[in-house]
């Protein structure tokens, strides 16, 4: 098989994920696009390992080992990322990353705060919101 086929497919998948990360508004859809990018990297690793294991004399199978490590790290990343998204959703009432602009520069500090207070869950989330912002 030509090495160009998996390499081109991996490049296209990576750019699809890149578009998703840049264009999506929901945080969970952004996480899905990150998964697509990580999978493109895995395909590259596996393809180059399949090539090098025939070409090189002695190989450590580093491509496949690194692909396994990437899969495990992606699983950990998705757990932590979803926990963060859920915490943000509980505190702010939204998982829309266009509205989470509290730390953006060049912003009036009063404006996003009042915006966030309007969207936050009423009573029990108020104390935590201050803590989360701090």
């Amino acid at each position: 098989m030509h090495l160009a086929y998996p390499a081109v497919l991996a490049a296209l998948l990576f750019c699809t994920g890149l578009y998703g990360v840049l264009a999506r508004r929901n945080a969970i859809l952004v996480l899905m696009s990150v998964e697509l990018m990580l999978n493109a990297v895995n395909l590259n690793l596996v393809a180059f390992d399949a090539w090098l294991s025939r070409v090189a004399e002695d190989t450590l199978h580093s491509g496949q080992a690194l692909a396994l490590f990437t899969i495990a790290i992606a699983a950990a990343e998705i757990g932590i990322g979803l926990a963060i998204v859920l915490a943000v959703y509980r505190n702010r009432g939204t998982s829309d990353i266009d509205r989470l602009r509290d730390t953006a520069e060049g912003h009036d500090p009063d404006d996003p705060d009042s915006d966030a207070t309007g969207r936050a869950l009423p009573a029990p989330a108020a104390g935590e919101k201050a803590e989360a912002t701090a």
Binding site: R24, I28, A50, A67, L68, I71, A76, I78, G79, P124
Partner: protein, 222 residues
């Protein structure tokens, strides 16, 4: 029979080597299968990042990840293929679906799934794709993966490599998974539990879902 098959594979290999690098206009069966599955995978990925129904995006992600598992099988990396099916299709997508439900994602079409800068994002992605494809094709136009003979990614080969040369990163990875487990639990529990009964209930349920989720994550990774 098996010796005949091996002899045939060897003969095919020598033919390939004697012919130099085979052209793009005479694809082998593996290449045709790889191309077809690759088209399906890429289409599913594009639908994943463009659809307006959030749950459908997760389901198309299953198609894309499963197609990638088939690509790993075609590249003779069996162990990675099954690990991909187990972890991605079995655990990550389920986690994403749980996340969509817990954040009360709208069922059906949501008009604001894409942000306002989608055209800039499209331009960036197309430019990156053009540059990457150009460079990759220019670099590896004549490189040939020899897939005949013994597969390079069986469980035996991968396990031997992993536990001979990669033991220390493997153990470090288990520590990282433990840290991710603890971190997810800490992030999922409410900060000030116990002040009000309603908050306590919510905190308990939040901790339980977080713990079960990360435990499932850990099991899937193992």
């Amino acid at each position: 029979m098996s010796t005949a098959a091996t002899a045939g594979a060897l003969a095919a290999g020598t033919v390939h080597r004697a012919a130099g690098s085979p052209g793009f206009l005479s694809p082998t069966g593996v290449e045709i299968a790889f191309l077809l599955v690759g088209l399906v995978t890429l289409g599913a990925a594009v639908v994943t990042v463009t659809t307006r129904q959030l749950v459908h995006a997760a389901l198309w992600l299953v198609v894309a990840l499963g197609g990638l598992a088939v690509e790993y099988l075609l590249l003779t990396a069996e162990f990675i293929a099954w690990v991909q099916v187990l972890i991605y299709v079995g655990s990550v997508v389920v986690l994403l679906l749980f996340g969509l439900m817990l954040t009360r994602a709208p069922i059906g079409r949501s008009p604001d799934a894409d942000s306002g800068n989608r055209w800039v994002a499209l331009a960036v992605a197309v430019a990156a794709a053009a540059a990457l494809v150009w460079v990759v094709v220019d670099a590896f136009r004549t490189t040939w993966i020899d897939l005949d003979g013994a597969p390079s990614g069986t469980t035996e080969v991968t396990g031997a490599g992993l536990f001979q040369h990669w033991v220390l990163p493997f153990e470090a990875l288990s520590v990282l998974l433990l840290a991710a487990l603890v971190g997810a639990i800490v992030l999922s529990r409410k900060a000030k539990a116990g002040s009000e009964p309603g908050a306590k209930d919510a905190a308990a349920s939040g901790t339980a879902t977080g713990a079960s989720r990360t435990r499932r994550d850990q099991e899937g990774t193992r």
